[in-house]
């Protein structure tokens, strides 16, 4: 099995187990304030790391290319309170323009 298949099926299996367990365990297990707090912070950490790695690396190499422009445009769009699809599209269009013409 390729890494893609293992990742696809493994992620799906764990995702469902997590969802189903929430519906089945007594709520006192997961309602502790510290667990709630950590749970709110984990997505911030992982998603920020993903933004950075996906913007400035290729495999294990760091690099700055057209994606920097896309990222900056996305930040501007978010500061202007643009909806999600506009953020993604404006990043893509600006990055593609830099890639094609520079």
């Amino acid at each position: 099995m390729t890494v893609f298949w293992i990742a696809t099926l493994g992620t799906s299996l764990v995702a469902f187990a997590l969802k189903y367990s929430g519906h089945s365990v007594p709520d006192r297990w997961l309602s502790h304030p510290k667990i709630q707090r950590v749970n709110a912070l984990i997505p911030i950490a992982l998603l920020s790391a993903l933004v950075a790695v996906q913007s400035f690396s290729e495999k294990a190499k760091l690099m700055v290319d057209q994606r920097l422009v896309g990222l900056m445009v996305a930040i501007i769009a978010l500061l202007l309170r643009a909806p999600f699809p506009v953020v993604v599209l404006s990043a893509a269009v600006s990055s593609a323009a830099v890639y094609r013409w520079f």
């Binding site: 890494v3 893609f4 298949w5 293992i6 990742a7 696809t8 099926l9 493994g10 992620t11 799906s12 764990v14 995702a15 469902f16 997590l18 969802k19 367990s21 929430g22 519906h23 089945s24 709520d27 997961l30 510290k34 709630q36 707090r37 950590v38 749970n39 709110a40 912070l41 984990i42 997505p43 911030i44 950490a45 992982l46 998603l47 920020s48 790391a49 993903l50 933004v51 950075a52 790695v53 996906q54 690396s57 294990a60 760091l62 057209q66 896309g70 990222l71 445009v73 996305a74 978010l78 999600f84 699809p85 953020v87 599209l89 990043a91 893509a92 269009v93 990055s95 323009a97 890639y99």
Partner: protein, 220 residues
């Protein structure tokens, strides 16, 4: 249909269509990162949790192992457990219905359901099911469209897909950066991940930031 009931349906549908449309970005991102159209669609059908799906394709696309992809996606999926805890006493379902309810327990279905509380218990349940099923249908249709679109593109950089993926992550994290503490955490984790990328095996710099979050969360 009563006035409240149609308001619940309207809330659910508008969320389903807007959120479902992000599926285009996911489908395209998955294919851009080397997943097949079938694998992209299976992730949307079976994993069905946006942030986790983006994370696994992001980590694998960056050269990470299957295990680090699964681990990163799973850490992002933990919040669905907490949503399950919140929703279970409100839905009161067993057997097959509980399995279905678990599968559509995501940010949006929980948020819309809780948003209906002033309209009564029945509206909470309807909000959950309408939104959960609505997002599921649109998310999967749009994933297929995005995956097929990306497959037809060839050089994804010429279409800016390499930037669409980080922009999608940024769009997901942005609403969570509500205070200085959250913003400081986000910036430290971004810097940490970049600094570790040339040193650690791919995928690990990302997962490692979860431990920064855990340490900071327990300390505070």
């Amino acid at each position: 249909m009563s006035k409240d009931s149609s308001a619940t349906l309207r809330d659910s549908l508008s969320v389903s269509i807007t959120v479902g449309a992000y599926g285009v970005a996911f489908g395209a991102a998955a294919v851009a990162n080397g997943f097949s159209v079938l694998q992209s669609c299976l992730l949307s059908l079976l994993t069905f949790s946006g942030a986790s799906q983006f994370a696994v394709v992001g980590v694998i696309g960056a050269g990470g192992s299957a295990l680090s992809g699964i681990a990163t996606a799973s850490l992002l999926g933990v919040r669905n457990s907490l949503y399950g805890v919140i929703m279970a006493p409100r839905l009161k379902v067993r057997g097959l219905r509980r399995i279905l309810a678990a599968q559509v327990t995501i940010d949006e279905s929980t948020a819309v359901a809780l948003g209906q509380e002033s309209r009564g218990d029945e509206a909470v349940r309807k909000g959950f099911w309408y939104t959960g099923i609505g997002v599921f249908v649109f998310w999967n249709l749009f994933t297929l469209a995005g995956a097929l679109g990306a497959q037809a593109m060839g050089d994804i950089r010429a279409f800016g897909l390499d930037s669409a993926v980080p922009a999608a992550f940024l769009g997901l994290v942005w609403p969570r950066l509500i205070g200085n503490f959250e913003r400081a955490l986000a910036i430290s984790c971004a810097i940490f991940a970049i600094a570790m990328t040339p040193i650690l095996p791919a995928g690990l710099p990302i997962i490692a930031t979860a431990f920064i979050a855990i340490a900071m969360g327990l300390k505070k």
